[in-house]
């Protein structure tokens, strides 16, 4: 191993301590070191959005961060969404509205929308489409994704009130 460091990263609420090469990206750390393979790796240069995770609550491309940069930080991946095998309202809406076909882009889209719907609980279609510009889907034509995001927002508002 070349230049290495021991880091402690909180992922989905659990602290993981590992010794890693400093050049290791966050996406590879999640997948290979922590076996959290829900985070997908598409383009590895920050264009496709498949590897989007939340770092301290904000969406970020995990292929454009180093694992060492997350020492002491909190990361949330798609594995944090379902609880006890039960899909959360956003995931359920994706199933109901056919928001995915092959599913490769879905983890990144779910994490992007997790942040977006938290910050904008009542978006219109244009705002959802704008929020989705950083995630590429090659199957759906986005229609199902937009429907799912709007349906999830509505359901989450109803549950809250």
């Amino acid at each position: 191993m070349g230049d290495a460091r021991t880091i402690a990263v909180t992922v989905n609420g659990r602290v993981h301590e590992r010794t890693v090469e400093t050049r290791l990206t966050l996406s590879d750390f999640l997948r290979h070191d922590l076996n959290l393979t829900g985070t997908h790796v598409g383009c590895e240069h920050g264009v496709c959005g498949a590897c989007t995770v939340l770092v301290n609550g904000r969406s970020a491309r995990s292929c454009l961060m180093l694992a060492v940069q997350c020492d002491g930080q909190e990361v949330a991946t798609v594995e944090s969404l379902a609880k006890g095998g039960k899909l959360n309202p956003l995931q359920q809406a994706f199933q109901d509205c056919h928001g995915l076909q092959c599913g490769f882009c879905t983890p990144g889209i779910l994490m992007t929308l997790t942040e977006f719907l938290r910050d904008h609980p009542a978006p219109d279609e244009a705002a959802v489409r704008d929020a989705m510009t950083g995630n590429i889907c090659r199957c759906t034509g986005y229609q199902g994704i937009v429907d799912a995001a709007l349906a999830a927002a509505k359901r989450m508002r109803e549950t809250r009130s």
């Binding site: 230049d3 460091r5 050049r23 590895e44 240069h45 491309r61 180093l66 950083g134």
Partner: protein, 291 residues
């Protein structure tokens, strides 16, 4: 695609970072990582030492002082995007930010990183050129202020010395009453723009143009401020005829073609976008005057 091995440093102070930059061979500074990380993943850039600025708190600030916006080099684009100071006093910067990549990249990307990367189509570089920003560089030898035209010296190339670090930027705020606009053309939302145009327009008491500033990016290695067009607008009525004449001159500016976009098409966009930016800036200047 993985970065080639490097030695990683995460200094906590500017002084520490300058010291590393002055003493390590083949060192690169990592800001938000939204441009350098892809280049490292592609191995287009293979630094021996990576100096990560993300843990230097003193590089991140945003304040209004002396009629200017003072921004730390590590201030995230999202902080500018959601700042009421920016939205209220410099709406064109706010509009430009909406075109900078995507939410996920603005969460990490920084003003300083964008300026130092100096992509020809970068929106934040355009706005810095329009506002006549001053860049503050530091090194173990001391600090210096660099006006934007002396900063952008070539394609992806700044006048920073190898041991220098960009610490902050001062962006003079447009005087109140100036109309502001930022428009661009890109193939898809969030893509690199092909051409972008920003404009500032001030009107005098009679409603004529007292002063105009225009910055066009995507034409050359750095945004162009067409001084002759700006001068010619002064004293004119802010109407379609004046803006059409300015747009026609913008279409004569030098443009570089590439395999995807010809020079002719860039000049065409310069004409269209210059007109739109001036028209929008004028409408806003009139709104402020009457409002």
């Amino acid at each position: 695609m993985k970065p080639a091995p490097f030695v990683y440093h995460d200094p906590r102070t500017i002084a520490e970072a300058c010291d590393l930059l002055a003493t390590r061979e083949n060192a690169r500074v990592l800001a938000g990582g939204q441009s350098l990380m892809p280049m490292m993943n592609f191995r287009a850039v293979t630094p021996g030492h990576l100096i990560d600025l993300n843990r230097i708190g003193e590089l991140s600030y945003l304040r209004v002082a002396n009629g200017a916006l003072e921004v730390g080099a590590m201030t995230r684009q999202r902080e500018l995007e959601f700042s009421t100071d920016v939205g209220g006093r410099c709406p064109l910067l706010h509009e430009a930010l909406a075109h900078v990549g995507h939410r996920q990249t603005r969460n990490r990307g920084t003003l300083g990183g964008s300026l130092c990367h100096l992509d020809p189509s970068a929106e934040l570089v355009n706005v810095t050129a329009l506002l006549g920003g001053t860049l503050h560089a530091v090194s173990t030898r001391g600090g210096r202020n660099i006006p934007f035209p002396e900063f952008a010296v070539g394609y992806l190339t700044t006048s920073l010395a190898p041991d220098e670090l960009l610490a902050g930027v001062t962006l003079p705020l447009p005087r109140s009453g100036h109309g502001q606009a930022f428009v661009e053309f890109a193939r898809r939302r969030g893509d690199f723009s092909i051409v972008a145009c920003s404009a500032l327009l001030g009107l005098d008491a009679r409603g004529n143009i007292a002063g105009a500033a225009i910055a066009l990016s995507g034409m050359s290695h750095a945004p162009v401020r067409p001084a002759a067009i700006e001068r010619a607008l002064r004293g004119q009525k802010p109407d379609a005829a004046a803006f059409k004449a300015a747009a026609a001159e913008a279409a004569k500016l030098d443009a570089a073609g590439d395999p995807f976009v010809s020079a002719g098409y860039r000049r065409h966009l310069a004409r269209v976008l210059t007109y739109r930016a001036l028209e929008q800036a004028a409408a806003r200047a009139r709104e402020t005057a009457h409002g």
